[in-house]
Symmetry: C2
Subunit: 415 residues, 2 copies
């Protein structure tokens, strides 16, 4: 029996077909996907996935925040091994982010059920509401509510960028379910996802065994100088918010270099005012995104940044205002699950690499409830949240097979 | 006779009244002025000034590009000593930039005529068309055409930011005059202007004897990197156009510091794309404004910038495109006129400082035709091209008195 399971593979043709069918819902002419959370397109995407779930004979439940959990029928309430992800996208996203994890999860259940594989625990696949946060902040809303990290009433009252409320939109699209939040803890949770970064491709590796999710520190700085004439103001009399902004961005890069490891630092947004060629900038808004897998080191990066910006601003005679936009501590995945993913990938003949996730995922919320891990497959050129997002079919198939054997191993666990 | 001239002063109450009356045309609620070149407000402003010129008995001529030159009636064609400036403003400008030079010039002629002062040469005051260039590029258009630096046909065909042509708009507002361009060379030209910079105020000085106008080099850089996820892309795999832009701005500042003297360098405009907190910038447009009074040193600054940007871009693995937006060589004013302004200011009891102009002025075009100089008065906090532009009344009066005695001295010259 064990040997036959090693040979077991998902049906990639079927997975490919479903990826294409779901990708056609809210599909864009450029090959991308647009299914903002709780939009009509999101409803259509959900309906399609639920149809497939029911066709497979799964028990489909929807909770108050709209999370869909489909599980194998079971004689008792044994905690399932759960996989899944999300089907909402950013406004102009790709076809794999989230969708791949849901449909590969469904493919895993389909394979196990069709083959009549007997397991100690049922399998379940979840579709979490509003993972992207592109319409309703914060992101990973559904899994956060499922895990008890955000009261459901608060989530339902959230207003979107278009002024609509989550609760109203859930009602409107028919996904305001009856099941309570937080949801029941699974035995384990494993999420399969595209990397959304260049590391696996760069190293020629097919499978990423994800050790955890980086902690995130997002801050906005407002730098205030004096808008003066670029020709008539001597260098010594300048209070140039534009120069200060540039110096801050260079400092952020230096901090990442000094700290090394997986510390990253990005100034992705910078807005000059008045933004005119011959006027010294009087005000600049910029953002700093710092991430580290280690909370202590992330705090170090933050405090270095604060100290150096203060020095730079004093030198330039400018003011600095700070606003914290987001702050999440790093999440470490279960070492047993990480090891299992790594061994499974290797056993199936794929090059494997441990890495941490720089992006947020539903799995980091589920890690509050049960032992959790993630599997990554390569993203071509690291591109994501973009219609150009791409992963090779062979990698998509490999990831789904690793997911299959990982959840099967976990579902063999009795304790 | 000479002694009585030393005592001679302009009538500041009258000048103040005229500044306020002209400031009310196209006046803004915030105290600023909006009289874009060849707009209805520009026509109203011109009409008012021409009315005052005619009231004084001056001979008023308008040339094909709309420059207005008013001169004392004279028995022969002796070349006049000319002063003047412009009355157009930027979209939201102040009340003194240009207007002060025209009205103080008119005040000087009024004073000389009312007192019956006999001079060897007539005085003239000019109003040059479209000095600001805010509606129709390039700036200093009228004086450039007057001095023969731009064919009048070409200037008349210029299209504005609103699609209108200079020639049509001149006809429309009634200032398409019959006099030929280039215009007749005066004996000398002296322009009085607010500094538009902080140097005089910073040094507590009332009168600036302007030695010349800085050369200007304007360039736009388009930096091309790879837009990737700020969390998932390791520092070593980044091609961050935003970081490169910041490094370029810091380098521009360093070049100015190394070169010293009056070299200035400004990155006033920077636009990130996609300009999102968690996406590494894929493309940045930025401008670099370099100025120096010495052409050779300005060229050095330009070549240092090109070399260092190439190195920085290669390190970051980014592309760089350069586009030259403007390039003017420095202009040196006539040393005799500069010395005369300096001595005159001192003789009238004002603290005087030599300095160069960082902004462009009509005088730099007239310097092609005749010996030329400029007089500056302080600008509060260096602010200009802004409704907050301000100069104290005492400084406005001092500048007009220095202009009076400077042009009188030049108009006493027979050769």
């Amino acid at each position: 029996m064990v040997d036959s399971r090693v040979e077991m593979q998902i049906d990639f043709a079927r997975l490919r077909e479903r990826l294409d069918a779901l990708g056609a819902v809210g599909g864009r002419p450029d090959g991308g996907n647009s299914r903002l959370a709780l939009s009509d397109a999101d409803r259509e995407g959900r309906d399609l996935v639920v149809l497939w779930m029911r066709d497979l004979g799964l028990e489909v439940g929807v909770d108050r925040i709209g999370n869909i959990v489909a599980r194998q029928p079971w004689s008792d309430d044994t905690a399932p091994v759960m996989t899944g992800s999300h089907v909402d996208t950013v406004r102009a996203g790709g076809r794999y982010d989230g969708n791949y994890g849901v449909l590969a999860g469904l493919e895993v259940l389909t394979t196990v059920i069709e083959r009549g594989v007997e397991l100690a625990r049922p399998l379940a696949v979840g579709v979490f509401t509003n993972e992207e946060g592109a319409r309703f902040p914060p992101d990973m809303m559904g899994s956060l509510v499922y895990a008890g990290g955000l009261p459901v009433e608060e989530a339902l009252a959230t207003l979107g960028v278009d002024g609509a409320a989550v609760g109203d939109e859930l009602e409107r699209i028919g996904y305001a379910g009856p099941l309570p939040c937080p949801g029941p803890p699974p035995h384990a949770f494993v999420e399969l996802h595209i990397e959304q970064g260049p590391v696996l491709e760069h190293h020629g590796v097919t499978i990423g065994a994800v050790e955890g999710v980086q902690g995130i520190s997002w801050q906005e700085l407002v730098l205030t100088g004096e808008p003066n004439h670029a020709g008539t103001t001597p260098m010594s009399l300048r209070h140039d918010a534009g120069y200060l902004a540039a110096a801050v961005a260079v400092t952020a890069r230096e901090i990442a270099a000094e700290m090394g490891g997986d510390q990253v630092a990005t100034v992705g947004s910078m807005r000059f005012d008045p933004d005119i060629i011959n006027v010294i900038a009087g005000e600049v808004h910029l953002t700093v995104d710092l991430r580290n897998t280690d909370e202590e080191r992330l705090r170090q990066a933050e405090s270095r940044l604060v100290a150096r910006v203060a020095d730079l601003a004093a030198e330039e005679g400018c003011g600095v205002g700070w606003r914290r936009l987001a702050r999440f501590e790093p999440v470490a995945f279960d070492s047993e699950v990480v090891g299992l993913v790594e061994r499974t990938g290797t056993r199936l003949g794929h090059p494997v690499r441990r890495l941490s996730s720089g992006a947020g995922h539903d799995a980091q919320m589920m890690a509050r409830l049960c032992k959790t891990g993630m599997i990554f497959v390569p993203s071509h050129r690291g591109i994501s949240h973009n219609p150009a997002e791409h992963t090779e079919d062979a990698d998509l198939a490999a990831g789904a097979d690793v997911l299959l054997h990982t959840v099967v191993a976990l579902a063999d666990e009795r304790a």
